[in-house]
Chain length 339, copies 2
């Protein structure tokens, strides 16, 4: 069992720097495309055998030091009763947006085993196969709320902020319900065998620090506090969240994910005695091998001061990334860090 990832999460010295990549099981891999050719995205998420297959693909091909459960952050929103669809091109769509009390009242706090058993089954199956740790995950309540309020992805998040600023009680009520669902969901993943848990706050970066502190952070704190007795490493990633990092530290997470917009030296100063994960611009995987290697070298040198460092991208790997370039990066991290 390769445990470098778990050691790094705990801030322990590791033999070499562990690597995984956000969205590592995904469209840039031809073997993933092949699986997806025969099934919709949502059906794939609900088919444990296939989820296992695509979760393993990057671990095997690219020699990753951790696997992340193949799923989607919106699965629990569907389990709450919000009808979810994935449209090619347009992304996730919720036809019934949540914008009033009646909409909020229709949402339930589901039993994760009963409504999302396929996720727990995937985790149990994966643990039999994997020789690297398995990361479970969920979306952060704020990020999940934006999808329910906007009805999908958004460029401006007008409706979300409109609710925050003009109906704060309703907004907090929605966050409350999502938080209960998310905590139970992550606890169930832990029971099923997840060895670390990551909370993705993909849209936290649209918030001013004062609003993040009031409307988003308290719910992340509650989830993390509720997961402490699992003893698993807990990772919090606020995308585009460089200016939120001082607050993100207060989430209680053991590991803080960072995107590529911040110099890692500054991030290390800000997070104090906590591990850090991330930082390479995913598009920098396009650099010619010598330059890519040089950039990774600079990153690893800077990360030597961190209290635990896990190499990752600053965002999900882009669908047009040549897999060989991803392999080149993984190999460079391993070689340059002494594997």
């Amino acid at each position: 069992m390769n445990t470098t990832f778990l050691q790094a999460c705990r801030g322990e010295k590791t033999e070499y720097t562990p690597v995984w990549m956000m969205r590592q099981a995904g469209r840039y891999l031809p073997e993933y495309q092949k699986v997806r050719g025969g099934i919709s995205f949502l059906d794939l998420c609900k088919t444990p055998d296939l989820c296992v297959e695509v979760t393993l693909q990057p671990v095997n091909r690219l020699n990753m030091d951790a696997a992340i459960l193949f799923s989607d952050i919106l699965i629990p929103m569907e389990a709450m009763g919000a009808g979810l669809e994935f449209n090619e091109g347009r992304g996730p769509v919720f036809h019934q947006t949540i914008r009033d009390q009646a909409g909020l009242d229709r949402l339930i706090v589901p039993d994760p085993e009963a409504s999302m058993g396929f996720v727990m089954e995937t985790i149990r199956l994966l643990r039999r196969e994997l020789k690297v740790p398995l990361i479970g995950f969920a979306g952060a309540p704020f990020t999940c709320a934006t999808y329910l309020i906007e009805g999908g992805s958004s460029k401006t998040f007008w409706e979300t902020k409109k609710m925050m600023f003009t109906q704060p009680g309703l907004f907090h009520g929605l966050m409350e319900k999502i938080t209960l669902c998310t905590l139970a969901y992550l606890q169930a993943q832990a029971r099923a065998g997840a060895q670390a848990l990551q909370i993705f706050d993909s849209w936290a970066g649209i918030l001013a620090p004062c609003d993040f502190e009031e409307f988003a952070l308290p719910y992340v704190q509650r989830i993390i506090a509720g997961l402490k007795d699992t003893k698993l490493p807990l990772i919090y990633f606020a995308n585009n969240g460089a200016t939120l990092l001082d607050l993100a530290v207060l989430s209680g997470a053991d590991v803080l994910g960072i995107d590529w917009r911040i110099n890692i030296r500054e991030a290390i100063r800000r997070v104090g005695p906590r591990a850090i994960q991330g930082n390479l611009d995913p598009f920098a995987l396009l650099l010619p091998a010598p330059e890519l290697r040089a950039r990774i070298k600079r990153l690893l040198d800077a990360a030597a001061d961190a209290h635990g460092y896990i190499f990752n991208l600053g965002h999900g790997i882009h669908q047009f990334t040549p897999p060989d370039q991803a392999k080149c990066a993984v190999d460079a991290v391993h070689e340059l860090s002494g594997r």
Copy 2:
């Protein structure tokens, strides 16, 4: 003549805090919509009389302390020979993207008076009408380049970064040409009577600090150096650029624009003895009047330590903002700062 804006730009004490709002002449105003009802966006940009009219609208209705020329950052790209179209909904579209040397060679460095005389004419007309300073502007080369490379707006900027990372010579050649055009364009605006010049780097925030330093900043520096003998206050706004602020200071600008993602106290620490502009989340204009006022009070209190502060939003005003809410904010800034 109300010169509080120009004084604040120079870091001088002002009687009260000057206010203007990015995109203050725009779709949220019914009187703007009325003008736009009869003419396309691009034609409006090329009709000095109407540009004057819409530039004045927010100054008159909302009591702004500065006017900003009504135009678009892509006007000079069209003058360079890139065929530009504005589609309702989709935004700006360049049908011929610039992705190779032949495409770059087709672009010219235009004479601004000959090709964009309507802009200079608008400035001359406005100066006769205005009792507040007139801000001229251009897009920063990096931001303009993204539109030419992507063919319009982008979610991921894949093509831009692909060129940066795989054809850096071509990318720098494009930046070079845009820089020459932009400098000449802003010099012409200064000659026509603009009293301050703002450079909008709307997409700088997609860059890692090291890439901003290599691929974007040097060109902003050249433009600002080339404008120093105009003696006008020069404003640089890198949107989503909190982590680039230490580098943005090196641009040479007198005033640094900041979005809403950074706490203004931190921004003030970072910019040193330079003026600051911005910071209110544009969507916070939706707050009920007492909360909006309280938020503005906190902002003004924090900004008391700045070497010159100009109240502004952290991004353009959103099209669905009620004009009365914008008025409420302007009035609050004036009253709370002692006008």
